[in-house]
Each structure stands twice: as C-alpha cells, then as structure tokens.
Amino acid sequence: MSALELYLSLSAFLFCLGVFLVLTRRNAIMALLGIELILNAANLNFVAFSAKYNGEIDGQMAALFVIVMAAAEVAVAFAIVLNVYQRFKTVNIDEIDTMKD
C-alpha cells in the first residue's frame, strides 16, 4: 500500500469507529466522542490528500479550520448535554425520547 492508501485506510477505520460509537453508545458523552472521531477522520483525509497532490498547505488549513469548529461544537454540545441532564436527570440517549410520535 502506498502512504496515501495507508492514511485513507486509517481515516476510514476512524470514521467507522466514530459512526459505531455514535450509533451504539447510550451515553450522550460517548456519542459525542464518536463525532470527534468522525471529524478527525475527515481531517486526516484533508491532510493526506493535500500532502499527496498539492505542495501547498490548503488541506492543513482546512483541517485547522475543522479543529476550531470542532472546539466550538464541543462547547455547544456539552452545554446541551448539561441542559438535558438538568431536565431529564440522565444522559442516557434512550431514555430521552419525548420527540416520539
């Protein structure tokens, strides 16, 4: 495998791991961790393609941008989790189902 393929495989692995976490964990915080993995899988792709096809640092800049955005996302997400906890006294996603039909 070439270096690029290795990076992409790792990225795909991280992505699948993240999706798995998001879909299966009952704890909201663990699901958030999964989202972080997904974002970083995308970051890895940005950097890997940038290094392969482009001498510039466009990909790295995009990755940095994603990192900053992810920090904001985490702040908002944790605020939501805190509010959810205050209202429902749990962060178990399964027990928070008032949006059902």
Partner: protein, 705 residues
C-alpha cells in the same frame, strides 16, 4: 547525528538508544494498562516491574554520561517528524549531564513511588486507572527532559499537564478532587498561553524550535520569547502569581502528590528555565530572582500555620521551587555562567521532598487503618489530632528525620550542599546589583529560617509528645490499633533517606559539592552561618510547640494571612472568578429574553393568525355564501327529491366508501410509519446513514456503469 531510516538506529550509541526506549516503554505500559488493566487485577505488579526496568535503564544512562567529560557531550540524535510548507519539523533526543540526571531522577523516583503505591492503593476499585495514569505521567516527563527542541518539549509539557489533571482528580466522584483537578488544569492553561506565544515568536524569528545555540542578542523579540517561556514555566512550577493550584492539588492520592512535587510536573518549569536561561535577557533574570525570592518567602510564611500534614509540604514545595527559580535568576553571578545550583537543588530537593510526602502518605494510611479498627472518626490529615507517632512507626520517624534535616539544610545532608549554593549566589547577585537587590538574599535567608521552623513544627506535632487522637473522640485503645510495618511502604522510604544524605551527591566531601566547580563557596564561614540559621529555626519551633499545637485563640489577622496564603484565592475569586460568572449570567439572561424572546414572539404571531384564518371557518363561509345559493338556483325544488335519493345512495355506497377507505389507509400507514419516529435519535441517524449508503451506491452504479 540525523537518523534517516530505521536501520540507522544500529549506529546509535547504546545509552542514547536506551534513553529513547524509556518513554516508549512507559507509553506502552500505559496502553496495556488502559486496555487490560482491569482484567489483570489492576496490573500493579506489571507497572512496578516495568518501572523497575526503566529505572535501571535510566540509572545506566545517567551513569554513562557522568563517565564522560562535558566536551564529549551532548549525545544528540534527531529525525524528521513531519514537513509542512517546505519546512521540516524534527524530533530528537538530547543527552547531556542535565537531561541524563533528570532522566535518572524521574525514572528512579517513579519506581519508588510505584513500590510505595502497591500497598497504598491496593484496595481501590479503580486502581487499574491509577497505574495507567502513573505510567503516562512518567512517560510524558521523560519525553520532556529528553526533548531537543521546544515544540517537542511543549507536546510532552501538555501531556504532563493532562496526566496530572487525571491523577489529581483520581477520586473524581468526590467534589474536592474534581474541583482541584480543574483548577490545576485551568491555571496551567492560562500560563501555557505564554509558552505558545513564545513558540510562535521563536518560529517567526528563527524558523526553528531548536533551543541549542540560542542566546540573548539584545533585541525585543528575544526578550518577549523569554518572557513567554517564563510565564509558562512559573505556571507549571507554581510560582507567584500562579501558585494557587498546587496546595489544592493535595486532593489527589498522596503518592501522586509525592511524584508531582518531586520528579514530575512542577520541576518541568524549572528545567525549562534552566535550559532556556541563555535566551533570557538580564532584566528577565532580575525578574526571576524577584519572583523566586518572593514566592519562597510567601510560601514559607504560609506553611507556618497549616494544620493539614500535606498542605505544609505543599507550601514547602512552592517555597523550595522559589529557591530554584531565584537560583536561576541570580545564576550568572557564578563565574562559569552556568545555573548549576538551581539544577543541583532540583535534584536534592526531589529526593527529600518525595520522602516527606511518602511519610505523610504512610501516616495518613496508617491512621485510616487504625480508625477503621478502633471505630474512630476524625480528619486523618489534621496534625492537631496526631502526636507521639514515633512509637507506632519508629522506622518512618527515622526516615522523616533525614528528609527534614535535608530540607532544613543541616550539614551532612544533601539540602545543605545545594541550598547554600543558591543563597551564596543570591548574595553575589546583590553585591553586583547593589542597593535594593539585597532584598532578594534577605528574603531567601528569612525563608530558609522559616523552612527549618515549619518542618520542625510538623515533626513535633506528628511524631513527638502524646497522642492527641483522644481529644478528637478516639478511645484509649486507639494507639494499639495501628497496622504492622508494611515493607512495601517502608523500603522506598529508607532508600530515599539514604539519597537525602551527602553520599550520592558529593561522596568525597560532605561540606562542599565536588562536581560544581564554581567559586561560590569562597567564603568558608557562610555555609555554617546558614546552618546556624536552620538550627535556630528548629530550636524556636521546639520551644513554641513543646506543649503541642497552639490553642485556637492565639490567632489574628496575621494568622489568617499565613493560613490563607495571603488571601490569593480570595483575591482571584473576587477579581476574576466572580466577574466572569456575573458576565456569564448576564449573557444567559440576554439569551433567555432577547434571543428566545424573539423566537417566541414570532411563534406567537404565526399561531394567532393561523387560528383566525383556519380552513374550516373559510370552508363554512364558502358553503353558506356561495355553494348553497348556486345549487338552489340550478336545480328546481320538485326534481330535488328523486335526485337527492339517487345521490344519497351514490354518496353512501361509493363516495363514502372511497373516502373512508382512503382515510383508513392513511391512518394505518400513518401508524406504521409513525413508529419510525420513535424519539430515539440514534435510530434516525441509522436511517439517514442507510439512506446515504443507498444514495452513494446508486451514484456509483450510475457513474461507473
């Protein structure tokens, strides 16, 4: 030597290779313990074995560098880490006397703390985490001292911060440790901003993170870089005004405190300053001397009145770190231009302070065990309820005597060698600067008097006199409830006691460090004068506390000033924390009334309009006003009867059935589909993921044929 491929490793000098392997092994230990620690019954023996191995390797690296003369050092290897924008960033390992001594120190003390912890943490449910975090902590510190450039150092610097956060908050289910770990992390983060800015400036000015060869060239950028590094270092090393996190960090397990205060974490800042001091401008050296001397004095005063056995030691550490920072600040006073004495004091201090904390841990641990057996309940860390413990733990008491003598700076002990060097350096500094600068050595001398005083007070309250546990409600048989000597805990203490004497540091001459070829000790009387000051401090404590702790009424604002560490926490609380919380509350109100209010307003308007123009009303109006008149106009009343019957039949048989059928269909399918909307978000995500997959596959088929 630069490494290009893995096979180049074969050409590397053995000690360098071993040094590089140490942090890797420790990280590996962390991974193994994190993944399988719980199944290995905590994995304590694995951790102890691993750190025993690394301690041997660290000792070997340290020994082999001290066999070499300074001119054949450093041993330096580096390799490319990554390239960005055509610039290459390297990682490397730099071994000279300083880094190898630090490596030996870190690995050795970590091993001893591990052995001690075997008994201390044996019954904790989460001990697998404890062992894993300890390995991470040690790995980060080893990486930090071996780094050959500031970027790599910063990476490990942050890892050290993370590991300390995890360990301080090890008992995170209780409120105090959780808050303390956050405090440590946040205060360090503020200081680290200085480090990051220094890194950016360094990169902008020199295009490299290598610290070798950097020295002050008299321009503003160098001063700013130095200032940034200084801010980072005084955050990590708990110097004024960032020292507030360290006393609270006592909330963690005691062996962890021992590790934090001796070998890892707080000495990282001092080590950074020692590495970077050639880049610091003369002004910054003066600033360092002032910060160090001031912190040493403030913390020593604060240690005088503490009642918690660990808090005394915490303030003592801040005070001793102040001595080291001051030693760097006054450093260039020595003719060699090196800051040997700060480094030397770092090494000697690590052993006796680690020992003092482990003694505190032993005392607390035994008291807890005795309390459980005798059904007594009082604060096991409060020295006012101790006393006379030398009868229950004679060996520990002897070890404590060694550590305390070294801290106070009595002759024949390691602290005597290093602290006097710093004090004399400070006097040279004052002579050179003249006038006001005598405040610096003055503060240091007062601080060393107070050091002897507070450590003697601790010894008297804990080990001497009669046991005061009965005053706290314990029964008379309490004194016989103490557990037997646990050799897993006592052996590390005895080793550390040996390391607190002159033997390791200056085997040939107990009164003057042989390795340090400086002219600092030119006046033979000064060291003895300092030793005399220490004896005075001990004597004063012995007289004042001969009848146990002072009664509570002997207190006033001076007592409060000392007990609350000059109200620094309260000052930060009212100057920073409260305004910040007030601002947050204000923003929450804005969010609630302005943003949410606007949304609610729009919703209200839409709902009200919707009511008025409801469809049924419109339909009724249409029926009465339009359809009825038209129908009556077209069809004559006579024909209406038969037609209406036919229509009624048609209506019932056909139209109603169709309508009902459609309605039933919609209702049933609605119920079926409605089950999809379960309120469970993860199911929604799964649906959209499946939809995405189907879409992607379809697109693939379309475009690839």
């Amino acid at each position: 030597m630069q490494l290009h491929t893995l096979s180049d490793l074969g050409k590397v000098h053995l000690p360098v290779l071993l040094a590089a392997v140490i942090p890797v092994l420790m990280l590996l230990g962390f991974v193994i313990l994190a993944a399988w620690g719980r199944r290995m019954n905590g994995g304590g023996w694995l951790a102890v074995g691993l750190h025993g191995l690394t301690a041997l390797m660290g000792f070997f690296v340290c020994w082999s560098t001290w066999q070499e003369d300074n001119e054949f050092l450093p041993w330096h290897i580096w390799w490319e880490w990554f390239q960005v924008g055509g610039k290459s960033i390297t990682m490397g390992i730099w071994i000279d006397h300083k880094s190898s001594s630090m490596l030996g120190l870190v690995t050795g003390i970590t091993f001893l703390v591990h052995v001690f912890s075997l008994a201390y943490i044996a019954h904790d449910e989460m001990r697998h985490r404890y062992w894993g975090y300890l390995s991470l902590f040690a790995a980060a510190m080893c990486g930090l001292v071996l780094a050959d450039n500031l970027l790599m150092m910063f990476v490990f610097w942050e890892l050290v911060g993370l590991a300390s956060y995890l360990l301080i908050g090890f008992w995170f289910k209780e409120e105090l440790p959780a808050m303390a770990s956050q405090k440590a992390f946040i205060v360090n983060r503020i200081a680290d901003a200085g480090f990051i800015m220094a890194l950016m400036l360094l990169w902008a000015k020199y295009g490299s993170f290598q610290w070798a060869g950097l020295h002050f060239q008299g321009n503003a950028a160098d001063t700013l870089i130095g200032l940034g590094l200084l801010i980072g270092a005084i955050g990590k090393s708990a110097q004024f005004p960032f020292q507030v996190w360290l006393p609270d960090a006592m909330a963690g397990p005691t062996p962890v405190s021992s590790l934090i205060h001796a070998a890892t974490m707080v000495v990282a800042g001092v080590y950074l300053l020692i590495r970077m001091h050639p880049l610091m401008s003369p002004d910054l050296h003066v600033l360092m001397a002032c910060i160090g001397a001031g912190t040493a004095l403030i913390a020593a005063i604060s240690a005088l009145t503490q009642t918690d056995i660990k808090r005394v030691l915490a303030y003592s550490t801040i005070s001793q770190l102040g001595f080291m920072v001051m030693g760097i600040g006054v450093g260039p006073a020595n003719e060699s231009g090196e800051v040997n004495f700060a480094m030397f004091h770092l090494l000697t201090h690590a052993f006796f302070k680690c020992g003092l904390f482990l003694v505190a841990g032993y005392v607390i641990h035994s008291l807890h065990a005795a309390q459980e057996k005798a059904h007594a309940h009082f604060d096991a860390q409060d020295m006012r309820f101790m006393g006379g413990l030398r009868r229950q733990m004679p060996l520990v008491f002897v070890a404590w005597l060694f550590f305390a003598a070294s801290l106070a700076g009595l002759p024949l002990f390691s602290g005597f060698l290093s602290k006097d060097g710093i004090l004399i350096g400070a006097m040279h500094f004052a002579e050179r600067m003249g006038g006001w600068a005598w405040v610096v050595p003055g503060a240091a001398v007062v601080a060393s008097f107070l050091t002897a005083f507070y450590i003697a007070r601790q010894g008297i309250l804990v080990f001497m006199g009669r046991n005061r546990a009965q005053g706290a409600g314990a029964k008379e048989d309490f004194q016989h409830a103490f557990p037997k000597t646990d050799w897993r805990m006592v052996t590390p203490l005895l080793i550390l006691a040996f390391a607190s004497t002159w033997v390791i540091f200056s085997p040939g001459n107990p009164f003057h460090p042989e390795y340090l070829k400086t002219s600092a000790h030119e006046s033979p009387l000064l060291p003895w004068a300092f030793a005399g000051i220490a004896v005075l401090g001990i004597a004063a404590a012995a007289i004042i506390f001969r009848k146990g702790p002072l009664p509570n009424r002997a207190q006033g604002w001076v007592f409060d000033l000392s007990f609350k560490h000059f109200f620094l926490d309260d000052i930060y609380q009212s100057l920073i924390v409260r305004p910040f919380l007030a601002l947050s509350r204000l923003l929450a109100l804005v969010d609630h009334f302005v943003v949410d209010g606007a949304v609610r307003l729009v919703a209200g308007i839409v709902l009200r309009k919707g009511h008025r123009a409801s469809l049924s009303e419109a339909g009724e109006w249409l029926d009465h006003q339009v359809i009825d008149p038209v129908a009556n106009e077209i069809i004559q009343p006579k024909e209406q009867h038969s037609i209406s019957r036919a229509t009624a039949w048609l209506d019932q048989q056909l139209v109603d059935r169709i309508v009902n059928g459609v309605a039933t269909l919609v209702m049933r399918s609605g119920k079926r589909v409605g089950k999809l909307q379960s309120g469970k978000m993860q199911l929604y995500l799964l649906y959209s993921l499946l939809a995405m997959l189907v879409l992607l596959l379809t697109l693939m088929f379309i475009f690839t044929g």
